[in-house]
């Protein structure tokens, strides 16, 4: 609390409130459809400015944290929310190395996407709405990142889900976009359910430990391993909680079995896909696990589940990506695959390395998506890669950017992906001697390192080389798009060097937990093996798509059913349609039947009874109450009629009354006197 003072608090609040203010202003303009000259320019400038403010402040804080070292912390109290059972839930934010880096990256990518959208969304209906929701998303994501307690984080968690829904359904007049937005929302709701359940368990644990609701485990004066003795119906609570949190993270970060929403989410505008469905929101699940890394380390079973889920998701999504034809769906599956790879790293205890890969991935995946956006502008938003080809000579800039990003994601030296992917593989290699699971995880890591270049270079070759196809049309004034592409390329090239001599992982060592280094040799060997795998994959891809495309066609023609199975993504969506969704539909049918037959008849019975009772009470009212009232009225009227005659106002009448009164009083006194005497 040494660094705590009022001005930091206000500044920290501004990180969140600045884009929120942008949302309010642009949302106001959009909602009431206020028209004025240069409205779009105004909206764009203000939206970008608000995000820029966020970016500047969060980088300022990041540098401040950096000067404090890896244990640096800037807490800020924004206000009180509510308190349950003496557990205070407050609008507290905490800037430490993890959240500081994350906030800076989120606001940077958001800023880049804002600027990119200027050209991409030009003359689009709902320009103001788009920027308003983008601002809201940034604010919510920053809440999620910076929050100090799990309830405030949940607010951001729900908020980004909402923004994702709104932006996937941005072209809500299109059937598939609105369906995709609903699908994403529903699947995320499932995860949110798990999240809420985990929150309840955390509150349950809070009553026993005193301070588990908050992430700051270093200040907690009990050991997390002791918590393993707390049981709930036979299972350790810490495992249940960690598993539920992981389920929430899997839904948000599109892992098995929840991943199906992400490919469909590509129905939204491409910059949105870059920002929300590649660089930021889908990393929220990973961020949650990173935040609670100490907690997760105390739950080894869940860690294994995380690693296995990550490995399977990564391999499966990589295979799906190989057989997609939509330019954005390939990237969507690639995102799922890379996120799975990060989950694999997290599950094996390589938290810092996973976070590093998250950052490099944010840059190179955003740049891939923004390239795809540029290509889609040229080709009138027709995303089928079979109708593309030979674009490299038409647009060398986009081609080069795509190429560099592809090299980066493939993990080829010296691009960013090489460093981060290599770190993870090294950690997997170091864990090798701890059972058969670790062998499987390491081989899965190598397999992913092999598949990634295969699909990304397949895409690269299909778009940029081969026969010139497609109705290509150069667009003018794409300065924003071009400059943002160049900026992102630089970032996806340079971000790999962040971890030169362990700088990055060192910075995080107090915030994010790390398993003890087992100190195995052969790091260069791993690097060389992974590098050669990647390069051979690129070479195979080149062979298949450029050198001998006829061979590929022949293989495809031979394996009809398998090929259809692969292009159909193993029919997972259809499987869900037939099982889960059918089950839900049947269940809702039955519950509708139940509703109609039992609840409705109960309701009807109740209403019938109510009717009877009211009829009874009506007749009671009519015959008893009304008559009583009338009687009372009549009586008081009669009395009034009688007594009004007394009030004549004539003087001598009053004199009569006085005399009468005196006589009565006098006779009473005499009578009393007599009575007392005898």
């Amino acid at each position: 609390m040494d660094y705590f003072n009022l001005s930091t608090e206000h500044l920290a609040a501004l990180i969140i409130f600045s884009p929120a203010a942008g949302f309010l202003m642009n949302g106001w303009i959009s909602f009431f459809n206020i028209r004025f000259a240069k409205r779009d320019l105004f909206v764009f400038l203000t939206a970008s400015l608000f995000v820029f403010i966020s970016f500047v402040i969060s980088s300022y804080f990041l540098f401040q944290i950096f000067s404090f070292g890896s244990e640096g912390k800037i807490p800020a109290h924004l206000g009180s929310w509510f308190s349950v059972n003496k557990i205070p839930f407050q609008f507290d934010i905490l800037i430490d190395p993890l959240s500081g880096i994350m906030a800076a990256i989120i606001s940077l990518v958001s800023l880049i996407v804002h600027l990119y959208s200027k050209d991409y969304m030009k003359n689009e209906e709902g320009f103001a709405r788009y920027f308003a929701v983008l601002n809201l998303f940034t604010a919510m994501m920053l809440i999620l990142i910076l929050s100090d307690n799990i309830m405030f984080l949940f607010l951001g968690w729900e908020g980004v889900g909402l923004c994702s829904y709104l932006l996937i359904g941005f072209y809500f007049k299109k059937q598939d976009a609105s369906r995709a937005s609903l699908k994403a929302f529903m699947i995320n709701r499932t995860g949110d359910f798990a999240f809420l359940a985990a929150v309840f368990f955390l509150i349950h644990l809070y009553s026993q430990t005193g301070s588990l609701l908050f992430f700051d485990f270093n200040s907690v004066n009990f050991s997390l391993t002791e918590l393993r003795h707390v049981h709930f119906s036979g299972l350790p609570v810490i495992e249940i909680t960690a598993f539920l949190l992981f389920a929430a993270a899997a839904a948000k970060s599109a892992q098995i079995p929840f991943y199906t929403w992400l490919p469909d989410a590509m129905a939204g505008p491409t910059p949105v896909s870059a920002l929300i469905h590649a660089a930021t929101m889908v990393t929220a699940g990973i961020y949650l696990i990173l935040r609670m890394s100490h907690f997760f380390l105390a739950a080894p079973f869940t860690m294994d589940v995380i690693a296995l889920t990550g490995a399977f998701t990564s391999i499966l999504a990589g295979i799906f990506a190989l057989f997609q034809f939509d330019i954005k769906k390939v990237l969507a599956f690639s995102t799922i695959s890379q996120l799975g790879f990060i989950f694999l790293a997290l599950g094996s205890g390589a938290f810092q390395e996973g976070f590093f890969h998250l950052i490099t991935h944010a840059f190179f995946k955003a740049s891939l998506f923004l390239c795809a956006g540029a290509i889609l502008i040229y080709l009138h938003h027709n995303g089928d890669m079979r109708k593309m080809g030979g674009l490299f000579h038409k647009d060398r800039l986009t081609g080069t950017v795509f190429f560099i990003a592809a090299l980066s994601i493939s993990g080829i030296f010296p691009f960013a992906g090489f460093f981060s992917k290599d770190l993870i593989l090294i950690r997997l290699y170091e864990n090798l001697n701890s059972g058969p699971l670790s062998v499987f995880l390491f081989s899965a890591g190598l397999l992913i390192a092999f598949i990634t270049p295969l699909y990304i270079f397949r895409q690269f070759f299909m778009i940029f080389f081969g026969k010139e196809k497609g109705n290509f049309q150069h667009s003018q004034n794409m300065y924003f798009i071009k400059s943002m592409l160049i900026l992102l390329t630089l970032l996806s090239f340079l971000s790999g060097f962040l971890n030169i001599s362990g700088f990055f992982t060192d910075f995080l060592k107090h915030t994010v937990s790390s398993m003890a280094n087992q100190g195995a040799a052969g790091h260069t060997l791993i690097a060389a093996a992974a590098g050669s795998l990647s390069i051979s994959a690129v070479f195979i891809s080149w062979l298949l798509h450029i050198k001998h495309p006829a061979f590929k066609e022949a293989v495809i023609a031979r394996s009809g059913a398998i090929y259809r199975f692969l292009t159909g993504c193993f029919y997972v969506d259809e499987f869900y349609q037939k099982t889960v969704i059918l089950f839900i539909k049947k269940a809702s049918d039955y519950s509708a039947l139940f509703d109609r037959s039992i609840i409705d008849s109960a309701v009807r019975l109740v209403s019938e009874i109510t009717c009877r009772i009211s009829r009874l009470s009506h007749s009671f009212e009519k015959h008893v109450v009304l008559k009583t009232v009338r009687l009372i009225v009549q009586t008081s009227k009669t009395f009034g009629m009688i007594s009004r005659n007394l009030q004549t106002g004539y003087l001598h009448n009053y004199l009569h009354y006085i005399l009468g009164g005196v006589l009565i009083l006098g006779s009473m006194m005499i009578w009393l006197d007599l009575w007392r005497k005898f």
């Binding site: 009030q647 106002g649 004539y650 003087l651 001598h652 004199l655 005399l659």
Partner: protein, 99 residues
Amino acid sequence: MNLHTVLLTGSLIFLLGIYTTLTRKNLISILMGMELILNGAAVQFAGFALFNNDGNGRVMAVFIITIAALEAAVILALIYSLYRKTGNLSSDSMSDLKK
């Protein structure tokens, strides 16, 4: 002459006063009736004082006469102002008490 005669005379005057007050409509007559009531009471005081040889009764009789004079003065002024307002002296026109 004894005490009974005096008391009967006083009571007679008192009842006549009440009768006058209740039956007459003219305000002046009512005033006169009220004076009779007061004087009937004063006669009784005087009678008791005379036969019991008590000075207090005399003082009371004088006091009542004084009160009656004051009352007559005040009420005559009131009657005059009422007359100026309504133009007659009938108590029937004085029905403002109803309001």
